[in-house]
Symmetry: D2
Subunit: 152 residues, 4 copies
């Protein structure tokens, strides 16, 4: 599917970076944009005891927040300049406790489309240099050209 992964906008990287910077939740959660490729976005964040669930691991919802953003901007990277991106739905499987010093989250486009884009995300926990797959996401994103469409 290499052909389809050509971004519609050559300045896709700037648009992704600017869009990501407007997500205040990312700054609040200390989630950083690490890498942007056509159809692929990588984020990272450190362990933070303030974002944990009852066993002291990162809350699954926080992981989902990072996975959703990674998938959303992976989809956005291929869209035309006049498009906004909205998450229609996502599903997360939590494979192992989110125990680690830092976390890497990657979103990749599986199927780009004019309206609907499907992405898969993976979250890895790092302890020193050892990484472990701890969660996967499948996300459905929608390109929106007329913002009123989704504000009904």
């Amino acid at each position: 599917m290499t052909k389809a992964m050509v971004p519609a906008d050559p300045n896709y990287r700037d648009r992704v970076t600017a869009g990501f910077a407007r997500q205040q939740a990312m700054q609040t959660l200390h989630i950083e944009l690490v890498r942007v490729e056509p159809g692929e976005v990588e984020l990272a964040f450190p362990y933070d005891p303030l974002l944990t669930q009852q066993h002291g691991f990162i809350h699954g919802g926080i992981l989902s927040t990072a996975l959703d953003s990674a998938c959303g901007y992976a989809a956005f990277s291929l869209m035309s300049v006049d498009a906004s991106v909205l998450t229609v739905e996502f599903k997360v499987n939590l494979l192992a406790p989110a125990r680690g010093d830092r976390f890497q989250v990657i979103g990749r486009v599986v199927k780009p489309g004019r309206t609907i884009t499907v992405c898969q995300g993976e979250a890895f926990a790092y302890v020193d240099t050892q990484s472990k797959l701890i969660a996967t996401m499948t996300a459905t994103l929608m390109a929106v050209f007329d913002r009123k469409d989704v504000q009904e």
Copy 2:
């Protein structure tokens, strides 16, 4: 399914309250426990610009964090005293932008089970006294009796 919604532990409310209080992410995100019934938990949180996505609405991942906790503790409310609860997976549909002054999140057990419990969650946005359904979740939770089981 009323019969099945009898909690195994009469002190279920205390256990849910104590478990919820250990989720530091809830305090960080200002998500509060409002109500605990057998198989049903209600949470609430105010609008916070620090938790928004690129259009100024609450980030879908933050909604998911609240929905996951509501579903998890709804499941936990029916479990026996020696059980921990873990989220196996969840799926969220974002139905409308999370625009509002405050948000109400309800998790309900659909099917309790010895090992696997299935819950559904609903998130509502409030503007004054008007509410709107903005997201739904289906979550699969697992009762864990031997924590090592899930730490492999």
Copy 3:
């Protein structure tokens, strides 16, 4: 959400009936259209040993086929005359073995929309007059006005 459940086409019932009749898989699997309301469709099918999994219960995929059709036509019932409906994605939770004499499957619109409609489905197994919830579905459907859109 009653207001939103007004069908765009007063002849919605005929359109649903005609569309359902074109799904050859329904006839092959002996799944029948029982009831059509605005935003709600009910199907039914008998137990058939030819459609079972390894334990002699109806295969989860067959249940999903019925749930998908029920959700799809529930969404379709609210759409305008020039729209086709396509399933974007669905998620099924299998709550209990599909053991019964006959099965009832209901799809309901949770959130109608110009492009995206979200439905929930429920499948019940009947043994004599006793019914049991055996599966739930959440489905995302898309209205398509230009078939080429989805044939890329």
Copy 4:
């Protein structure tokens, strides 16, 4: 994750083959077992107009039936001899119309576990020798050692 993909039972291939043969739905739908590896199962089936939706493509539920079986037996291939496998839930994204002469469906274990196994599935449509990814699945399977557990 190679280490984890060692089957608990050296006769895993025979067990998968025998289990698959007991799924009468597979024979009815002409879905064949093509390949069994540790943690990976491949199925195939031809186009059949009797299994189509309203546009003449294979019904998404039929694809899901094949994907569910592929994922289920991929999980089963790693389980011990005394285990049965049950699908807890699955999610399917339909990426493109199921238009083709024949269909290939592959299920792979992403995360094996004593109780819970997570798999991903992919379905491809073939026209002559050209293939296209048309659907993906994420499935959660459960090993059951005491059948009564799931028959409650």
